[in-house]
Structure formats: structure tokens, C-alpha cells
């Protein structure tokens, strides 16, 4: 009787490290088709809203990029974290703080302010994100508190801080008592790249970030040290790389980038601070980071893919009458499939015949 057996490879398979995200996507799509069929919807239509509609027109592609920008920015930071074995899963909180920080500056502007105000708006976002991630780093460094739990708890705290601001001091007095700030002055708006599209200079930041992170990972000694700390802590200690420095670097980079993403979002597409600023980008970016293999270039593609899921979810709601939360289901499925498919990178499947060795 033959039996399927997992066999460890001596070298990880190069081929499968590229192929496994694609296989995972294929699995997700297959399950998606099944799900559509179960819900009594036409699977072809379902696939269409997720994979065709978002790239059909130039405007649609622009929207795809608009949503991919924060995902990519946050994921870049998370990749630095995860490669250093620092489990920052509170990017959502750092993103919210970034949005709050940017709003604080944006609300100070008046119609007469110069367009230079955009710089302090973004800086405030970055600093707020840094601060929030720095709290986690401090508690880990000083008290050895688990960064997974601390960073996550701080997401809930950040949500309450946001609520406090929009229900309290920052509530728009002319806003019919809605919990939101006034709409920011036009001068604070992030400059857009083209007329007729919402794509802003944010995507330039993200692409520059891709290059910088690539250089950091693969061409600098500090980037190397950062990753050794994640791969083999004892080797890192032996080499004399500081684990504290790696911890702070990881959290500050990911916090700063998440803060920047939050700032770009409130001062860009949203234009005011509302309780609906947290859109789950911080969590989706975890999936972006993994599906992109924690590689800066890979994450460009996975950010676009995840953005498709977001837009597809919205379209599925308006076109097919399906709940928007379908997005979350697909995101989760994708990560699951990826983790399962990744086994093929380090193992090969082989049929072995049993019955010998008697």
C-alpha cells in the first residue's frame, strides 16, 4: 500500500518559494467559487467582481492603487519586524495613531496656511506611529512583556483614543452631532498625481520604501544583523549584533510606516477623522507581508491583490448583494492556504511503498 510522505529537502526549493503564493491564490479562488455556488450566486460573476472589475478601467486601477498604498506601506514595516522575529501585530493601532497625529496638525491649519502644512501633517503621523510602536518596544525591552499581546492590546486602546477625540474635543461643532472632525482644509490635502484619479504621492512614498527596504535587507550590514536576530538568535548574539537594537529598529520602522499610512489616509482619501478610519489595513497588511514572502518586491504584488479583495468585497455588496465581510473571509483563506502551500518550499511530497522492512 503506497503512502504519501513528507520528505525534508536539504536546500529550500527556489521554484516553490515563488510558486507557493500562486498555488495559495488558486486554492483561495477555488474555495471562493465553491462558496459562491453554495450561496446560490454565479461563480463567474463572483470572480469577475473580484478579479476583473478592479482592473477594467483606468479609474478602477487608480482605486486599486489608492487602497494598495497603505497596505504596502504597513506591510513593508511589518516585513522588517517579522524578519527580525519581532511580532508586531498591532500595526492597526499604529495606523490609527498616525491618523490621529496627522489630524491634530491638519486641524490647526486655516485656509490661509501654505501647502507646506502637508509636511508637518505627515510627520505628525509618522511620529505618532513611532510613539505607539515605541510603547510596545519599551515594554518588551524593559519588562520583557510579550510584544504580540501588548501591540494587540494597544490596538483596542488606540480605537478608544480615536473615539475619545471624535466624540469629545475634536468633534465638529457644525457636524449635527456626528462623531467626526470638521473636514480638513484643502491645503492639508495630500497632493494627487493625476487629475481624475485619487492616486496621491503616497504611492511614491511606498515605492521608494520598497527600494529602501530592499537595500536594507540585502545590501546593508545592519539589515543583515536584523535578519540574523530573527533566524537564529544565538548566532546573532555570537556575532555581537544587539538584540535590543533589532527590537527597537523593527518596531520603530513598522510603527513609523504604519503611522505614515494613517496620515496619508486621513489627509488623503478620507479628509477628516471619523470612527471609521480603522479599516483593518493593519491586519490585512500582515497577510500582504506573508503572501509577498516578506520580500519588498513580492509585497507590491500582494498589496495589489489584497486591494482587489477589498474592492471586490465592496462590489460584491453593491452588485451581488453579498456582505462586504466576504473580503475578510478571502483574506483569511489566502493566508491559510499560503501557510499550507509553503510546506512545499521545505518539503517534497513523495509516494512511498510500504510493506518492506519486514
Amino acid at each position: 500500500m503506497p503512502k504519501l510522505k513528507l520528505e525534508a529537502r536539504s536546500q529550500p526549493s527556489q521554484m516553490w518559494s515563488y510558486a507557493s503564493p500562486l498555488l495559495a491564490l488558486a486554492c483561495t479562488v477555488a474555495i471562493g467559487v465553491l462558496l459562491f455556488a453554495l450561496l446560490g450566486k454565479d461563480p463567474v460573476k463572483g470572480l469577475q467582481v473580484f478579479f476583473w472589475e478592479p482592473v477594467k478601467t483606468g479609474y478602477a486601477v487608480g482605486e486599486l492603487v489608492v487602497k494598495a498604498t497603505p497596505l504596502l506601506l504597513i506591510a513593508l514595516g511589518l516585513a522588517v519586524s517579522f524578519r527580525s522575529n519581532v511580532w508586531n501585530i498591532g500595526a492597526e493601532g499604529q495606523y490609527i495613531l498616525g491618523a490621529i497625529g496627522a489630524s491634530g496638525v491638519a486641524l490647526m491649519a486655516n485656509p490661509a496656511t501654505g501647502s507646506w502644512i502637508v509636511v508637518p501633517v505627515l510627520l505628525a503621523g509618522v511620529l505618532a506611529g513611532l510613539f505607539w510602536a515605541g510603547l510596545t518596544a519599551f515594554l518588551r525591552d524593559r519588562f520583557n512583556a510579550n510584544e504580540i499581546l501588548v501591540s494587540l492590546m494597544l490596538v483596542y486602546v488606540a480605537v478608544q483614543v480615536l473615539n475619545f477625540m471624535v466624540f469629545g474635543p475634536w468633534k465638529d461643532p457644525h457636524g449635527y452631532n456626528f462623531p467626526q472632525t470638521k473636514t480638513f482644509e484643502v491645503v492639508t490635502r495630500i497632493p494627487r498625481l493625476f487629475a481624475g484619479s485619487r492616486v496621491s504621492i503616497g504611492i511614491i512614498f511606498a515605492l521608494v520604501g520598497v527600494v529602501l527596504v530592499w537595500v536594507f535587507f540585502f545590501r546593508t550590514r545592519s539589515g543583515f544583523a536584523q535578519q540574523v536576530g530573527g533566524l537564529a538568535p544565538a548566532a546573532s548574539r555570537y556575532a555581537g549584533f544587539s538584540s535590543r537594537r533589532a527590537l527597537w529598529t523593527a518596531l520603530l520602522i513598522s510603527g513609523g510606516l504604519a503611522g505614515l499610512a494613517g496620515a496619508l489616509e486621513v489627509a488623503g482619501p478620507i479628509g477628516q477623522l471619523t470612527p471609521y478610519v480603522p479599516a483593518g489595513y493593519g491586519f490585512a497588511a500582515i497577510i500582504v507581508a506573508y503572501v509577498g514572502r516578506l520580500h519588498p518586491v513580492g509585497m507590491v504584488f500582494s498589496a495589489l491583490l489584497m486591494s482587489m479583495f477589498y474592492i471586490g468585497g465592496e462590489l460584491a455588496q453593491s452588485r451581488l448583494g453579498l456582505p462586504k465581510s466576504l473580503t475578510g473571509v478571502f483574506q483569511g483563506l489566502l493566508l491559510f492556504s499560503l501557510l499550507a502551500c509553503d510546506m512545499l518550499v521545505n518539503y517534497r511530497l513523495r509516494w512511498i511503498a510500504l510493506g518492506v522492512g519486514k
Partner: protein
Amino acid sequence: MMDSYALLIAATLNAGTVLAIASLGLLINEKAGIVNLGAEGMMLCAAIAGFAAVVHTGSDTMGFLAGIAAGAFMAAIFGGLVIWLNTNQYATGLALTLFGSGFSAFAGIAYVQAQIPERPNFALPYLSDIPLVGPALFRQHPLVYLTVAFALVLIWFLYRTRSGLILRSVGESPESAHALGYAVRWIRMGAVVMGGALCGLAGAYLSIIYTPLWVEGMVAGKGWIALALTTFATWRPARVLLGAYLFGGVTMLQFHLQGVGVELPSQVLSMLPYLATIFVLALISRNPRWIRINIPAAMGKPFHPGS
């Protein structure tokens, strides 16, 4: 005034029970060396599964069973990936939570406005009539008492039985347990499924008894707090129970403080349980040696047999 304290204690026990059930389940996982960050996701899915079952059948028992089944099923998938395919425990647990929050929101749409039958009165005869003590302790759902009993059974199991010793040995050194001939992966799988079932029960209790209704994301970090509790308790069941009631108390304190007229913004009060978790984690973890001697040594680490 005294009555309000009795009610606070009663509410604390009720809220603590959710945390205690989930956390005891996660403790079993971790004693076997597995960390399941999917607790939040399992509880969410179990909450909607349990709630839906009660809406359709009208039976609490069916609801609890549905919740347990949902939790156990999700844990089994997690276990398959982590134990047999050697995927990263943290990443896989996160995937479970992300999937669980997406899926529960998706599946729960139809139940957002749903009502479930009136709860019967759970007061224990005679005991519940004792002044103060009665309303504080003896008007709870039976599961509240069962949780305490379960914790006692778990202590006995872990520290007084051979099976408990085997479970702990697998979390201490899976390589050694394997070399002695124990089926490490199946033992871990059993622990993971058991943990998932308990998280499921906790989720179902939340939506059927505690709230009782379905709201998207209603677990609100309780799964994560339950995870933090195992560290807080340095992996001892009795302390898990204690910690759960403590955190239940913190959760309830916000309502109590509002009741007695403390002037704090509601958002600040809502932060309390999360801030308390961070505070307690920092307090407990600051002595790494103490953690190291109590933590199951192989917790979170992969195990490859036969190599």
C-alpha cells in the same frame, strides 16, 4: 449600596467565566507546547455558531454544542497545519483569527437583529435567598460553577495523573517524549482540539448567556486577554481562574464606576481591561527567570520527529 456590590460580584463572576473557560483551554494547549493565537477567531466563530443554533433550535444545549464543535473544528485545522505541516505557530494562529473575524462577520449578517428566547432564572434554591451572598454568588448560570469544577479537575489531571504527566512532558521536551515512544503529534493534536473546544464553549457562552445577542466582533479582544492570562498565571490552572475573575472584575468595574458617578470619559473606562492586561503582562514578565522556570520549555517551538 451593598446590593450594588453584590451585583458587581455576580457580574464579575459572569464575565470572568468567559475568560476562564477560554484561558483554561489555552492553558491545555500551551502545556502541550502549542500556542494558538487563533483564540479570538475561534471564539468569534463559536459565538455566531452557538447563537445561530439557539435561534434555530431554541435549545441552549444545542447552542453550546455548536460552539464547541466550531471551536474544535477550527482548532483541528490549526493543529493539522502546525503539528503535521510544521507551519509557524504564530502566523497560523493569526491566520485563524483573521479568518475567524472575517467569517463570523460574514456568517453573522443574518443574525444581527435576531432575538433568542428569554433566559430562565438560574437561581439556586435556598442558597440564592441568602442576603448579599445569594445575589452575589448563587444566581449564576450552571456553567459558572462548572468552570470552577473544571479547573479543579484540570489541576488533578495535570499534576496527579500519568496522562497529565505525559501531556506536560510533550510540552517540556517533545524530542524526549518521542524517543520514549509517545505519539507526540497526536497528543498535541488532542490538546489543541480540546483547547479549541473550550474556546468555542467560551464564545458560545458569550453570545448565548452573557450578552445575549450577536454583534460583529463581539469578542472584543477577550481571546487575546485569555492568552495573556496563561502568562499572568505562570501556567497554573488555579491562577488562571483567579486572573480570569480579576479581569472580569476590571471589565465590570467600568460599568460600576459609571454607576457610582465617577467622572471619567466612557472611552477611558473602556480602555481599562486592555490597559490592565498590558500592565499585568509587564509586571509578571519583568523577571525572565521566573517565566523561564514556569513556561513549558517547548512552547511555540516546532517539532520534527524522526530527524
